[in-house]
C-alpha cells in the first residue's frame, strides 16, 4: 500500500503501543477477522466480510427487483465518481463469475463530459477524458463518451414518452431466465468441441463488441467552440446554483436517454447511493417535487416509457462505497462539478447535503431512516400503472404535469405565439442549424393548449414570479429555477424586454399574467396507505400554492 511511509529510517519506538479501544473487537460476521470498517451504527467488519457484504447487497438489490432480464442491454451511466465507478466494477465482477451466479445482461457505458457547464478549460477536459478512456478500455464494455454540448442536437423525439410495455409478472421473469439458461446450455453443448468450457461460449454470446469498444456511430469528435460557448452562456444565464444543478441534471438525463435509445439499450443504471438519494429526497421536497419522489428516488424510474432507469447502488452508503473503492482499488476519475468548493449555502442541494451529513454524524440512522421512507413511496395512480397517463409532460424532467388539466381552456384569440412567450436557449438561431428541441416543441405546445390562467379573487401581494405560474408553461413546478425570488432565476423574467444583451434563456410572460395562480390542488405525497386520494377541484383557485409537496 502506497500510503505507509516505507522510506523512513527512524526505528519504531520501543514501548508497545497503547491499547486502542474498539480495535480489540472482532468482526461481527466471522468473529475472527480484524475489523477495518464500521458500517451502520457499530457493526465492525473485517476486510473479507465487508467485501462479501458489499457484493451481496448489490446482487440482492438487482435480484429482489427482477427488472433486468437476461440478455438485456443495460447502459451504465458513469460519471467517473466513486459511486458509479463502484457500480461499474460490480457489474464487471458480476459478469465474470461462475455461471450459476453471474449477472446476465449485456452492459455498455455512457459517460457525459460536462466540462463546459462547469467552466473547465479545454485542456483540463481533454486530460480528464484521457484518464476516463484508459479506465473504459480496462473495463472493456462498449462505451460512449458524449459531450454535454450535444444536447443542442437532440431531436424532439427525446421529449416524447413512448408507450410503456405491460408490467412484467413474476412468471414472465422466471420464464425468461429459464429459457435463457436453456439457450446457454444448448450453445455451450454445441461449442463444447471448440471451446474448453461452457463459460467461454457464454462469454462470446454476452459480449459481442469487445473487439470494438467504441461505437462507430458516434465518432469521437470534440464539440465545436460555438457549441461550448452556447452551453456556457446557457449556464451563465441561470443565476442560482440550485437552478443550474437542476438544469444540468435535466440535460444530462435527456442525453443519457438519447444515447440509450439510439443504441438500443432498454435499461439505464445510475450509481446513486443511499446517501445521495436521501439527500435528493429532502432536496426534492424543498424544491417542490414532492409528487415525483417515488420516481426520483425509487429503484426504478419508468417515466420515459421505453427506457427504464434503475438504481442498483441505492442501498450502499457513501461511506461503504468509499471504503470499498479504497480497499479494493476500484479506479475512478475525479471531475470537478458545478458545486466544487462552493460554500455551504450556495444552493439548496449543498445545504441539504450539509444538513443530512451533519445529522448523520450525530444520529447514525438518519440516512437509513430517510431511505426507508423513500421505499414506502408509491407511484400514483396505483392501479393500471403500466399505462402512462396521457396528459402533458414536463419538458425538463418528463414527469406528468401535476396540474388539474380539466380546468384549462383554449387560448383567447388575441394571444399570439410571440405574445405569450418565447423560450430561447442562450444562443441565436443561425449558430445552430437544427432548431433545438425547446424551440420546436414549446411554441407548439403553447399554441395547442394554452392554459387559461384565472385571476384570484383577491389580488395577492406582488411577488416577482410565482412558481405556480410555471406550470402553465409546460414546466413542472420545480424544474425551472428554485424557490425564492425568481428575479434571481434567469430562466424566467417578468414581462418587458430582457435586460441581458444576448437572448439568454428567457421565458417572457405577458403583463396580464403577473401574480396569477393556476387552478388545482397542490401536489400530494401519497405514502402508500389506502388508495391514492383523488384531487378535488378548489373553486377559488390555489391558495396553498406556496406550499407544494407537503404530505396530504
Amino acid at each position: 500500500m502506497c500510503q505507509v511511509g516505507e522510506d523512513y529510517a527512524e526505528p519504531a519506538s520501543e514501548e508497545p503501543p497503547p491499547r486502542q479501544p474498539g480495535r480489540e473487537q472482532k468482526c461481527v460476521k466471522c468473529k475472527e477477522g480484524l475489523p477495518v470498517v464500521v458500517i451502520r451504527a457499530g457493526d465492525a467488519f473485517c476486510r473479507d466480510c465487508f467485501k462479501a457484504f458489499y457484493i451481496h447487497k448489490f446482487r440482492a438489490v438487482l435480484g429482489k427487483n427482477r427488472l433486468i432480464f437476461p440478455g438485456e442491454k443495460v447502459l451504465l451511466a458513469w460519471s467517473g465518481g466513486p459511486s458509479s465507478s463502484s457500480m461499474v466494477w460490480q457489474v464487471l465482477e458480476g459478469l465474470s463469475r461462475e455461471s450459476a451466479k453471474r449477472l446476465r445482461f449485456v452492459p455498455g457505458i455512457v459517460c457525459i463530459d460536462e466540462g463546459a457547464a462547469c467552466g473547465l478549460s479545454p485542456e483540463a477536459r481533454a486530460k480528464t477524458l484521457a484518464e476516463m478512456k484508459l479506465i473504459l478500455q480496462t473495463v472493456g464494455f462498449p462505451w460512449h463518451v458524449v459531450a454535454l454540448e450535444e444536447v443542442f442536437d437532440l431531436p424532439p423525439s427525446v421529449l416524447r414518452c413512448f408507450a410503456q410495455e405491460p408490467v412484467e409478472t413474476e412468471g414472465a421473469y422466471k420464464a425468461a431466465v429459464d429459457s435463457f439458461l436453456q439457450q446457454q446450455h444448448v450453445l455451450g453443448a454445441e461449442g463444447a468441441g471448440d471451446s474448453p468450457s461452457l463459460a467461454q461460449g457464454e462469454e462470446q454470446l454476452s459480449w459481442p463488441c469487445t473487439q470494438d469498444p467504441q461505437n462507430p456511430q458516434s465518432p469521437d469528435r470534440p464539440p465545436t467552440a460555438a457549441q461550448t460557448e452556447a452551453l456556457s452562456r446557457l449556464f451563465d444565464s441561470v443565476k442560482t446554483l440550485t437552478a443550474k444543478e437542476e438544469l444540468l441534471q435535466a440535460l444530462r438525463t435527456h442525453l443519457i436517454l438519447h444515447v440509450a435509445r439510439t443504441h438500443g439499450y432498454s435499461k439505464v443504471m445510475t450509481g446513486d447511493s443511499c446517501t445521495r438519494l436521501a439527500i435528493k429526497l429532502m432536496t426534492s421536497l424543498a424544491l417542490g417535487r414532492g409528487a415525483f419522489l417515488a420516481w426520483d428516488t425509487g429503484f426504478s424510474d419508468e417515466r420515459h416509457g421505453d427506457v427504464v432507469v434503475v438504481r442498483p447502488m441505492r442501498e450502499h452508503t457513501l461511506k461503504e462505497v468509499a471504503f470499498y473503492n479504497h480497499l479494493f482499488a476500484v479506479p475512478s476519475v475525479f471531475t470537478p462539478a458545478l458545486d466544487t468548493k462552493a460554500p455551504e449555502k450556495a444552493s439548496i442541494h449543498r445545504l441539504m447535503e450539509a444538513f443530512m451529513l451533519r445529522l448523520q454524524d450525530q444520529f447514525p440512522s438518519t440516512v437509513s431512516t430517510v431511505y426507508r421512507t423513500s421505499e414506502k413511496l408509491v407511484k400514483a395512480p396505483r392501479h393500471g400503472c403500466a399505462a402512462s397517463p396521457p396528459g402533458p409532460r414536463c419538458l425538463l424532467c418528463m414527469c406528468a404535469l401535476d396540474i388539474d388539466t380539466a380546468g384549462l381552456c383554449l387560448p383567447s384569440p388575441g394571444c399570439s405565439e410571440e405574445g405569450i412567450g418565447e423560450w430561447v436557449l442562450g444562443f441565436s438561431s443561425p449558430l445552430v442549424p437544427s432548431a433545438p428541441l425547446y424551440l420546436q416543441t414549446v411554441p407548439r405546445l403553447l399554441g395547442l393548449r394554452l392554459p387559461c390562467i384565472c385571476p384570484r379573487r383577491s389580488p395577492p401581494p406582488h411577488r416577482p414570479l410565482h412558481p405556480a405560474v410555471l406550470q402553465g408553461w409546460g414546466g413542472c413546478r420545480a424544474a425551472v429555477g428554485g424557490p425564492g425570488p425568481a428575479r434571481g432565476a434567469a430562466l424566467l423574467s417578468q414581462g418587458g424586454p430582457p435586460s441581458l444583451r444576448h437572448r439568454a434563456a428567457v421565458l417572457r410572460l405577458p403583463r396580464e399574467h403577473e401574480g396569477l395562480a393556476l387552478r388545482g390542488p397542490p401536489a400530494t405525497l401519497h405514502l402508500g396507505r389506502g388508495p391514492a386520494p383523488q384531487p378535488e377541484l378548489l373553486p377559488q383557485g390555489l391558495h396553498r400554492a406556496a406550499d407544494p409537496g407537503v404530505p396530504g
Binding site: Q3, G5, E123, I135, L318, K319
Partner: protein
C-alpha cells in the same frame, strides 16, 4: 533518554484515493480526488510532527494540518475540532471509528488518509 512524549513523530497524511489508473504517470493527472484541492493539489504529505509535551492525537493533528497544510477554505475540511461530516478518516487503512476517532494517539510511521465522500456520483 528523551521522554517519548517529546520525540517527533513522522508519518504521512494522504488525501483522496490513489485512483488506480493504468498507464498514466502520477504527475500527468489533471485532477485526482476531492480533498487535495484544498491542499494545493498535493496528494500525499510526508509529515514530521514536532515533539511536544502532550501526546499527539488526531485532534491535535487536525489543528496542525489546518495551520500548516491547508491552503484554502478550511471550513470545507474541518468543522469545529473534527473533520467536516462526509470526510472519512482512515488510520493505517482502518476506520478511525474503530480506533477512537479524535482520541487516537498517533504512533510513529502512522499513515492517515482522508477521503472525501462528498464528491462524485
Amino acid at each position: 533518554a528523551t521522554p517519548p512524549a517529546s520525540r517527533s513523530l513522522r508519518g504521512s497524511v494522504s488525501l483522496g484515493d490513489e485512483a488506480v489508473c493504468p498507464g498514466i504517470e502520477a504527475h500527468d493527472r489533471a485532477w485526482r480526488g476531492g480533498a487535495e484541492l484544498l491542499f494545493d493539489g498535493v496528494k500525499k504529505h510526508q509529515v514530521t510532527l514536532p515533539g511536544q509535551e502532550e501526546p499527539w492525537d488526531i485532534r491535535n493533528l487536525l489543528v496542525w494540518i489546518k495551520k500548516n497544510l491547508l491552503k484554502e477554505r478550511p471550513e470545507l475540511f474541518i468543522q469545529g475540532d473534527s473533520v467536516r461530516p462526509g470526510i472519512l478518516v482512515l488510520i493505517n487503512d482502518a476506520d478511525w471509528e474503530l480506533l477512537g476517532e479524535l482520541d487516537y494517539q498517533l504512533q510513529d510511521q502512522d499513515s492517515i488518509l482522508f477521503i472525501s465522500t462528498l464528491h462524485g456520483g
